[in-house]
Structures are given as C-alpha cells and as structure tokens.
C-alpha cells in the first residue's frame, strides 16, 4: 500500500521536475530563439511591407505606414495595379521579358551542353588552356564587353532587337554553364559511354541518348538559375535595348522609378508583378532552386 502511494506520488513529481527542466532548457535557449526570430522578421518584413503597400491607395501610402492596414479602415484596393498596367509600354514590356527570357535560356543551355560534352569526353590539343580561359571568363565583369559588343551589334544592324539580348545573354552565361555541366558530365560513369561505343553508337547518339538524359538533374537546376538571371537582368537589357520598344519589364520599371519624383509609390504593384514569377519558382521548386543558385560555389 505504502509502496503504491509513493510510486503514485513520485510519478507526477518526476514528470513535473522533467517539465521544469524542459522549461528551464527552453528559457536558457530563449536568447537563441529571440535572435533568430528577430533576424528572420527583419529579413521578411521589408518584402511584406511592400506587398501590403501595393494593395493600398497612393494617398494612403503617403500619409501612413503599411502597418496601419492592420487596423480598420483597412482600405484594400487594386488601384496601383490598374494604374501600372495602364502606363504606356508596361504590358508590352512584360511580354518582352518573356520573349527575351525563354529563348535566351534555351539557346545558352543547348550550346553549353554541347560544349561541355566536348570538354568532358574528348581529347584535343589546347583543351586545358581553353578550359582555364573559360574558368577565368566566369568572373570577367560584363562591363568589360559592353562597348565592343555594342559596336558589333551596330555593324550587324542588331541594335535594339530582341535577338541582340538573346545572343548577349548566351555569350555571358556560357562560361559558367559549360564549367558546371562539364564537371557533371565528366562525373558520369565511363563504362556507359564505352559500351555504347562498342555497340557502334557514334558521338551524336552517345550525346543525345546517354549524355543529355543523364545530365537532366544538372540541366534542370541550371535552367531555373539561368531563367531567373535573365528575367531579373537589368544591365544587359539596359545597354542593348535602352530605348527600344522591346525593353523588358525591369528596364521599364527602372525608368519609371527614376522619372517619377513624387507619387512613385504605385510602382509597388510593378515590383510585385516582377518578383512574383521568381518567388513562385522558388516556392514551387525550392530544392532545385537552391541547388541551382549554389551549384557554382560548391565543389562539383
């Protein structure tokens, strides 16, 4: 009987002690949690603030901070979106962004995969030197090329055409892509290629039937990375399409930001539209996305 009571009483005591311990542990780790939560909040709040503002009227934005939307009257409105989309050139620029981004991505990945195959699976004099040049080109600032490339486009009458940015993006993107894909391709098992060769498959078949399908994971990550890089690009489009009717969304938004003295606030809507595609891709394809963004720095 007495034994029974002690155990019955001891169990709650023990679990209470454990609970206090756990609580003490949490308390001790409170600064850690606080620091993380504050930093995360600081990283997220600017974006949230701007997205909230894009749904407020310009006069509200000018007289009270975005956080006042938490209290009535909330004053939600799509006015900024309507205003932005009605500005001459905004809708065509969104179309241009798509027409620039998709072909530019397709062209550079196709050319890069082919080049990477040569560097990974063929022997030729000067291969190492060519490849070291490619590694070096990865960090060359685009600024070093703008003037001569402008002159080349001028001679070829490509100035201000969509094709000019396809080609320029391809040229600028290739070194990194060839580097990355070559590392991936050369990691594929040699036996697969050798047995295909024994079976009489030429290089065209080995490339299209073996190398490309086996490289799909790397190509997928790279596609996301390249696609968003071109979609978000400002400098290349600004230089080669500066005043052309085909300038992309980023260039048009930038032009509006710098030309509006006051009342620029409705451009929040433009920023939300511009970043919704990258954010959607990030949220939907997180794992590929992070792999794509970080692939270059991590040893392949």
């Amino acid at each position: 009987m007495s034994v029974g009571t002690t155990t019955r009483e001891a169990a709650p005591v023990r679990s209470a002690v454990a609970a206090i311990d756990r609580f003490g542990g949490t308390l001790q780790r409170l600064p850690l949690h606080l620091v993380i939560i504050i930093v995360c909040a600081f990283w997220v709040i600017p974006t949230i603030g701007m997205v909230v503002n894009s749904f407020r009227s310009v006069s509200d934005m000018g007289t009270a901070g975005w956080w006042t939307i938490l209290f009535p009257p909330h004053g939600f409105t799509f006015a900024s979106y309507q205003q932005v989309l009605q500005i001459e050139g905004v809708v065509p620029s969104i179309v241009s962004s798509i027409l620039i981004t998709i072909p530019a991505t397709v062209i550079q990945l196709a050319v890069a995969t082919m080049g990477a195959y040569a560097f990974a699976w063929m022997k030729f004099p000067g291969k190492n030197i060519f490849f070291i040049v490619i590694v070096g080109l990865m960090v060359v600032p685009i600024q070093m090329t703008l003037i001569p490339v402008l002159q080349i486009f001028h001679t070829l009458h490509l100035n201000g055409t969509i094709m000019s940015v396809w080609l320029a993006h391809t040229g600028y993107g290739l070194p990194f892509e060839v580097f990355l894909l070559r590392n991936y391709l050369s990691g594929l098992p040699r036996e697969v290629f050798e047995s295909a060769e024994v079976d009489g498959a030429g290089h065209a078949v080995r490339f299209l039937r073996i190398a490309v399908p086996m490289t799909i994971p790397a190509i997928a990550s790279l596609t996301i990375f390249v696609f968003l890089g071109v979609w978000n690009d400002l400098l290349v489009a600004l230089t080669y399409l500066g005043v052309s009717q085909y300038r992309p969304f980023t260039v048009v938004i930038t032009g509006l930001v710098t030309s509006f003295g006051g009342g620029w606030q409705f451009l929040t809507a433009a920023a939300v539209l511009q970043m919704s595609l990258p954010l959607a891709v990030f949220i939907a394809l997180q794992r590929y996305f992070v792999r794509g963004v970080t692939a270059g720095s991590v040893k392949g």
Partner: protein, 326 residues
C-alpha cells in the same frame, strides 16, 4: 494597353524551336560528315566541331570585347588616335570618379564582410533549432528577388518625411518609437552608402547562409561532442572548431561576394542613380557610356577588370587544385 508585337512573338517561338533544331542538325549532319573522314582527321577535327559553338560565343562576346576594350581605353573618343594614359589620368583625378572608386572600396569591404559574417552566424544559429528550414526560407527569400524589386522594397524602408509629420518609412517609424529624429537615409552623406550596401547584404546573406550551412552539416557531430566533453563552451566551439573547419567554404563564398561587390550596379542605379555621392565603378562606367564618352567608359571598365584579376587568379588556382584531386 499598347500593342503586343505578334512579329516578336513569332520570332521568339521560331527561336525556341529552331535553335535546338539547328543545333541538332549541326550535330547529326556534322557527325555524318566527320564519320566519313579518315580516322586520324576525324580524331583531330571532332572535338573542335563539338566545342565550336561554345568557344565561338565566348570569343565573340567575351574574349574579343575584353581585348578591344583595353585598346579603346588608350584611344581618343573618336577612335582615331592613341592618347596614352589620358583616360586613366581622368579617372584617377576627377572627383566624381574618385568618389565612385572610394564607394566601390566600401562595398568591397563592408558588403563582403557582412554578407559572409551574417551568413555564417545565421547558419550556425539556425542549425540549433527545430524550425531551421522555415528560418532558412525567410532568410533566403530576398535571393530570387531582382535588384529592381529589392530597390523598390527598400525605398519604402528608407522613406523619409520631415520631422513632426507621420513617418511612412518603416525604419524612420521604428526609430521614432524610441524618440529619435527621422533620418534621410538615402540622402544623408553618412548613411546613404551604408544604406545601399545594406540592401546588397540583405539580398546576399541567404546565398552565403545556404552554402555555409551545407558544409556545416558535413562536420561530424563527434568532433563537436569531443570539444564539449573537453569543456569548451558554445562560443569557443564556434570560434575554435566550427569556423576553422568551415574556412575553405568561407573563402569560396567570400571570393564570390568580392566579385559581386565590384560588379554592383543594379541597386545603386535604381535607388539613387549615383546621386548624393553614391556612385560605384560600374554605375560610373554606365554614365560615361550614356554620355558617349566611350574611351573613358572603357578605361573605367579596365580599372574594374584589373581589380578583379587577383580573384580571377584565385579561382583558376582553385580549379587547378580540384582538377588534381579528381
């Protein structure tokens, strides 16, 4: 609403379909021709045939322009005569360009330091909590956002109204709560460069954190356990065990950030366009280009490139070391 140019849509569609088809045709037809050649010629010509499109693009858009820019920087603006170092002399004596040089140095030091340091600290901190992946998403969120959108986001953070009126900018409202006067972040000479650099850091920390975090996971828990048993406290573990083990990764991330810092263009161009002495080398170059001072712009580009050469050498060396380990 403005007309959508159907001609351009067609061109784009053709490009998406035609370019891969052309490359496919190039590969298949080219290989058919090559396979008919004598073996020795085949072996010699095939690699160049495969690498040609990539090498061609790299030559036309990077190697040739790079050399040509160096030449232009020593010529007069009309490209009719050599003028020696005059364009460089201009760059290193004119106050505006000197300001851009100073600001790029500020970016180089502070952007790099804070992006890597915060990336490291956050990676170590979130490694210790259960909601790690959620916290990482929050920190990584600015990475996919374009510099153009980020600039608009931060224009609201830095928004300034005269003292006494309602502050609509988040930062000024926050410091108003503790009784501080509002600051004109982007105009004030002591804060504007720091403000711009911080926007850059905000977009870069997520990138650094993700890479550092990946190497952090590779450190075996036994090493850390051993250090704890030896009586090391958490700060000592971070300083004496984790950081040295992460050092190779930190240098890789650091060089990437140094290169980013030197190339910085978008954020400055959109937020201030170089006004109030916030110019950096890349925006300075673009200004010269817009004013049609081509040879001066080329000289600015060469200065930028020369600054990057040490990092280029580091990258090539690292590549060669990796090759030896393969």
């Amino acid at each position: 609403m403005g007309g959508i140019d159907l001609g351009q849509v067609t061109t784009a569609l053709i490009a998406i379909i035609a370019v891969p088809l052309v490359l496919l045709g190039y590969i298949i037809l080219g290989e058919q021709v090559i396979e008919r050649l004598p073996d020795r010629i085949q072996e010699w010509i095939r690699p160049y045939f495969w690498a040609l499109p990539a090498i061609g693009f790299a030559t036309v858009f990077m190697v040739y322009p790079l050399l040509r820019t160096v030449v232009i920087s020593f010529r007069n603006n009309a490209d009719t005569d050599w003028i020696g170092l005059a364009n460089y002399q201009y760059f290193f004596t004119f106050p505006d360009t000197l300001t851009s040089l100073r600001n790029s140095l500020l970016w180089l030091v502070f952007y790099t330091f804070f992006a890597v340091f915060l990336g490291l600290i956050i990676a170590i901190l979130v490694d210790r909590v259960k909601y790690e992946s959620l916290a990482k998403i929050a920190i990584f969120l600015p990475v996919p956002i374009s510099a153009v959108a980020a600039s608009i986001i931060w224009k609201f953070m830095f928004d300034y109204q005269p003292p006494g009126t309602t502050q609509t900018g988040t930062l000024n409202a926050a410091i108003g709560l503790v009784g501080h006067d509002p600051v004109a972040w982007l105009v004030n000479a002591t804060t504007n460069n720091a403000a711009l650099i911080f926007v850059g850091v905000w977009t870069a920390v997520g990138f650094c954190m993700v890479i550092i975090s990946a190497s952090l996971k590779a450190i075996s828990s036994e090493v850390l356990e051993a250090a704890r048993i030896d009586g090391a406290n958490e700060f000592q573990i971070v300083r004496l065990v984790i950081t040295p083990l992460l050092w190779p990764t930190i240098t890789v991330v650091g060089t990437t950030m140094l290169i980013n810092a030197l190339k910085t263009f978008d954020i400055v161009y959109v937020m201030t366009n170089g006004a109030y002495n916030t110019d950096v080398i890349a925006t300075q170059m673009f200004t010269q280009l817009q004013h049609n001072h081509l040879s001066r712009a080329a000289a600015v580009g060469v200065v930028l490139f020369v600054a990057i050469i040490p990092l280029l050498v580091v990258n090539v060396r690292r590549f060669q070391q990796q090759e030896e380990q393969r």
